[in-house]
């Protein structure tokens, strides 16, 4: 029976014991694990290496069978094909077919979901843009760097617009930009009503995106709950304020000790920027200088077909994409990278709009784009609007030709 109480999946007393050749128990990878994940949550499964995270994920996907206990995914066994239609999975390493290129890879997985040809094509295009592999779309996946392979691995997990996205170490192998995009994407998808289950040992990533976490050790559950609840230190407080003179600091210390007691420890220091933010700024600067790269480009915002996008969102994203194509963006012609500055601004601007239109506004890019904001009208062309409004295709083509 499908779950009706908003439970996406449920593990009940799940245990996995690996046996050796003679049938003797060699490793107890998961030991009586129980928890459930609700719709719209970002749930993180944490634990050190060998704690049973990946084994749990594999049992959740039906790749391993529990020794005892039960897994219910959308109220059914994970091996049910109807259930599989609603799941997207990105493994820890992108186990993709090395001889297929990005397009062929996505086309193959799209076929497995019986997507009609036109829809498949549309989704492939959108996902390739989304993960920033347009320039490398014709290269066999075997020639990709690890980060690029992770990106196409993510794209294949999203081809079916899944209700549940399972990510195994989602930011491993990604550069800080890719990792940031991945985290933004997770939050965007969460805002669109998707459920995301990720397992990782990169705690900062998990802390940033997860609503709830579960920590495993030795295959057993050690802690579970909302991130805020688990991480808030109720015995201490933190104050942020502009830099002031040392004298003022002394006064603040005195006031605090008056209330907290004379022996209370009060630490005062200048805050440091996070290395991630600093790195992203450096890369943005390089981009503004139009330096080329053979690797992955910056991805666009989440593809519009991924469920939950509003009409307005979709329109805006189409405009962004059309604006890029307008500038000669696709790399298949082998052309040099275009001067994408106005497009980049447009992208940022509209991406900002998309985020602001999201339900709770909790997602947000940390990269900042200096320079004056450019209104969308500056780059959005009439032909794109015509297409979106359903105007005749011939007219569209002639407009495009004129534009060229």
């Amino acid at each position: 029976m499908p779950a009706t109480d908003g439970t996406v999946f449920e593990l009940f007393e799940l245990t996995k014991v690996f046996l050796d050749f003679w049938g003797r128990a060699s490793v107890k990878a998961v030991d009586g694990l129980s928890f459930d994940v609700k719709r719209g949550e970002v749930f993180g499964l944490l634990g050190p290496n060998g704690s049973g995270k990946t084994t749990t994920v594999r049992m959740l996907l039906g790749l391993l069978f529990p020794t005892s206990g039960m897994v219910q995914l959308f109220g059914r066994t994970p091996r049910n094909v109807e259930v599989k239609k609603r799941v997207g999975y990105m493994p820890e390493e992108s186990h993709l077919y090395e001889y297929l290129n990005a397009e062929e890879t996505l086309d193959f997985f799209g076929r497995l979901f019986r997507l009609p040809r036109a829809e498949r094509h549309k989704r492939c295009e959108a996902l390739i843009d989304m993960v920033g592999l347009r320039r490398a779309r014709k290269r066999p996946v075997g020639q990709y760097s690890k980060g690029m392979a992770r990106r196409i691995g993510l794209a294949q997990a999203l081809i079916n617009d899944p209700d549940l996205l399972i990510l195994d170490e989602p930011t491993t192998g990604l550069d800080p930009i890719g990792a940031r995009e991945m985290k933004d994407l997770i939050l965007t998808l969460r805002d669109r009503g998707k459920t995301i289950f990720l397992c990782s040992h990169l705690l900062s990533d998990v802390q940033e995106v997860c609503d709830r976490i579960c920590i495993l050790y030795g295959g057993k559950r050690r802690a579970i709950g909302p991130v805020g609840d688990l991480l808030t230190t109720h015995e201490e407080m933190q104050i942020r304020m502009p830099r002031v003179e040392e004298e003022a600091i002394g006064k603040v210390r005195d006031v605090i000790r008056m209330y907290a007691g004379p022996d209370a420890s009060v630490e005062v220091s200048a805050p440091r920027r996070r290395l991630e933010d600093y790195f992203l700024d450096v890369v943005e600067e390089a981009r503004r200088e139009k330096l080329t790269t053979a690797g992955a480009e910056r991805g666009t915002v989440a593809a519009a077909f991924l469920g939950g996008a509003t009409d307005g969102e979709q329109l805006l994203q189409d405009l962004v994409k059309a604006g890029r194509q307008d500038e000669g963006g696709p790399a298949e012609s082998g052309a040099q990278p275009v001067a994408a500055v106005p497009v980049q601004r447009d992208d940022e601007f509209i991406a900002g709009l998309v985020k602001s239109s999201s339900r709770d506004g909790s997602s947000g890019r940390t990269t900042e784009e200096p320079g004056a904001a450019v209104t969308p009208e500056a780059v959005v062309r009439r032909d794109v609007l015509d297409e979106l409004m359903g105007t005749d295709g011939d007219e569209k083509e002639s407009d495009e030709d004129q534009a060229r």
């Binding site: 790749l63 193959f108 014709k138 294949q156």
Partner: protein, 562 residues
């Protein structure tokens, strides 16, 4: 330029699976059309004369069963494919791309293309055009079959094992397709690819043969050379590049006589303790005696089931041995058997034979232990489809003092033209294709159970076992030299039963092999195609696939089996 070429290659490769599938369908169209036509004929016969059909069906129960299995099996296969086409084709298409990216197909094709044209120069023949064509045809197809078998085995095992070992299944198995669909898709991909490769190889062989039998430059030849060349060419067209119905007469049943002889020897206490051995050798001796023609005597054959013809030719093929050591002499006579009363007699009508034509031996006689073909006018076939032949071991002017013994392994046969070469060639290719389909299924089954080296080794052993199974089968026959105790006899029986069972499981291609008949210009009947399709592809291949599916569906794919 290089980029454009690379793009073009990539584009071609991406469209290759669809192109191969079209070829595959085209390759199967004649089978469907001819099969349906045959079926309509049978239905017509059933309507017109149900009793005839029933009698014929009762006489050919195995054939009827094979046809039914084929009809049901192929219909089931089509339904399964139809209902799951999107998923199965997605997997099959990727399988084809994978095979070409692995370069296995290209290497095998290059190997074949290099080796095939060199066959006429490498292989030793009798020197005649006929033997050259036969050798090229035989070895090209045998080579193609072995290469295709290796391709099917390798692709099947490597593909399924690498999916698991490289963990591609961690992604594909999370998509909404059943594991059996995954295996069937793989199988279809291999079969589609092998069909295209097989028909490519067969096309190459056919072109080579046609080049061999092309008219030479007659202008530069003497009149005698021209005649010889024309005769040789005609011989190839009449005896090799043709499909002829083969009609033989059954060997006489000597079992009662053999048992009587054993009984007699037992009574006088001279029976050998090796009963099996004695029975076998005595049977062979008695048959040889029945098929020997003493000096001055004659032997008669009545061939039934031929098509009466007003014109054209039939061929008589025989192989014999003249005990005198030199070639076989004597005469062959097609005869008309008539029932007539002797003049003035009032008794019953007696059988008389009217000799229609005399065929004598060439100078030096017919070579011993070699097959020879004689050409007879087809008008000698009676209206009831019977042709009676007489051999007379006599030669005027020469003392004949030795018997001629006709080979019991390849008995005298009459060959009558039934069809052209191409339909026969097509049926032969179908049988080879069924064999390849079976090997692909075995490869997938092994791959679903074991790791790559183990799976490949297992299927290679089965393949070789299938090839040598006729040789191995002789060991399963009763132990002709052993003097066994009661317990020993029981163990011997158990061993023979187990070995026979194992042999039956082998992908035994030789019992369906069309190569001998094709090269000999004999028809490869649809009945054999149906038998091969039912036994090799549907029963054995289907069983292998079911076993593979069963274990693959229950396998923990995230655990790599070493």
């Amino acid at each position: 330029m290089k980029t454009r070429l690379a793009d073009l290659w990539r584009w071609c490769l991406s469209r290759l699976p669809e192109a191969l599938f079209v070829l595959f369908v085209l390759a199967l169209v004649p089978m469907v059309v001819l099969g349906v036509r045959r079926l309509l004929v049978v239905i017509g016969t059933a309507v017109a004369s149900p009793s005839t059909l029933f009698t014929e069906a009762a006489a050919n129960l195995w054939l009827v069963a094979a046809v039914l299995v084929c009809l049901v099996g192929f219909a089931g296969l089509v339904v399964v494919m139809w209902r799951n086409w999107g998923l199965i084709w997605a997997v099959a298409r990727k399988m084809i791309l994978e095979a070409f990216h692995r370069k296995v197909v290209i290497v095998l094709l290059v190997f074949f293309v290099v080796l095939m044209p060199s066959l006429p120069f490498v292989l030793k023949t009798e020197g005649s055009l006929k033997s050259q064509v036969q050798i090229v045809l035989l070895y090209s197809l045998a080579l193609g079959m072995v290469l295709l078998s290796l391709l099917a085995i390798f692709c099947a095992t490597a593909s399924i094992c690498s999916e698991v070992e490289r963990r591609h299944v961690h992604i594909t198995d999370t998509k909404p397709l059943f594991r059996w669909q995954f295996l069937v898709g793989k199988w279809l991909g291999i079969v589609v690819m092998c069909t295209a490769v097989l028909y490519g190889m067969a096309g190459g062989t056919y072109v080579l043969i046609r080049l061999l039998v092309m008219d030479p430059d007659y202008d530069s030849m003497t009149a005698q050379e021209v005649n010889e060349a024309r005769d040789e060419r005609q011989q190839v067209l009449n005896e090799v590049l043709i499909a002829r119905r083969s009609v033989t007469t059954p060997l006489p049943d000597v079992s009662a006589e053999v048992e009587a002889e054993i009984e007699r020897l037992r009574e006088i206490g001279k029976m050998s303790p090796y009963v099996h051995s004695f029975r076998k050798t005595t049977t062979e001796q008695m048959l040889s005696r029945k098929m020997s023609v003493p000096p001055g005597a004659s032997h008669r054959w009545d061939f039934k089931g031929l098509e009466p013809q007003a014109s054209g030719w039939v061929h008589v093929r025989f192989k014999g041995y003249w005990q005198g050591g030199r070639g076989i002499h004597g005469f062959w006579w097609p005869v008309r058997v008539e029932m007539a009363k002797a003049e003035g007699s009032a008794g019953e009508a007696q059988e008389t034979m009217r000799r229609l034509m005399q065929i004598g031996a060439p100078p030096g006689g017919w070579t011993n232990n070699v097959s020879h073909e004689l050409k007879l006018p087809a008008r000698f076939i009676n209206a009831d489809g019977t042709l009676t032949l007489l051999y007379e071991n006599a030669e005027p002017g020469m003392p004949i003092n030795h018997s001629v013994v006709f080979d019991i392994e390849s008995p005298v046969e009459v060959l009558q033209k039934e069809q052209g070469f191409l339909p026969n060639y097509y049926r032969s290719l179908l049988i080879i294709l069924f064999h390849v389909g079976l090997l692909a299924a075995l490869g997938l089954m092994a791959g679903a159970l074991f790791s790559f080296p183990v799976a490949t080794l297992l299927v290679a052993c089965l393949f070789i076992g299938g090839l040598i199974s006729p040789w191995f089968a002789q060991f399963v026959e009763p132990n002709i030299y052993a003097r066994l105790t009661t317990w020993g006899e029981q163990l011997d029986r158990i061993w023979r039963a187990a070995a026979s069972f194992l042999l039956a499981l082998m992908p035994n291609f030789s019992s369906f092999s069309p190569l001998g008949d094709l090269v000999g210009g004999r028809s490869v009947p649809w009945g054999r195609v149906a038998s091969a399709g039912s036994v090799l592809l549907l029963i054995k291949g289907g069983a292998a696939m079911l076993i593979g599916m069963y274990f693959y569906a229950r396998r923990e794919l995230a655990r790599v089996i070493v």
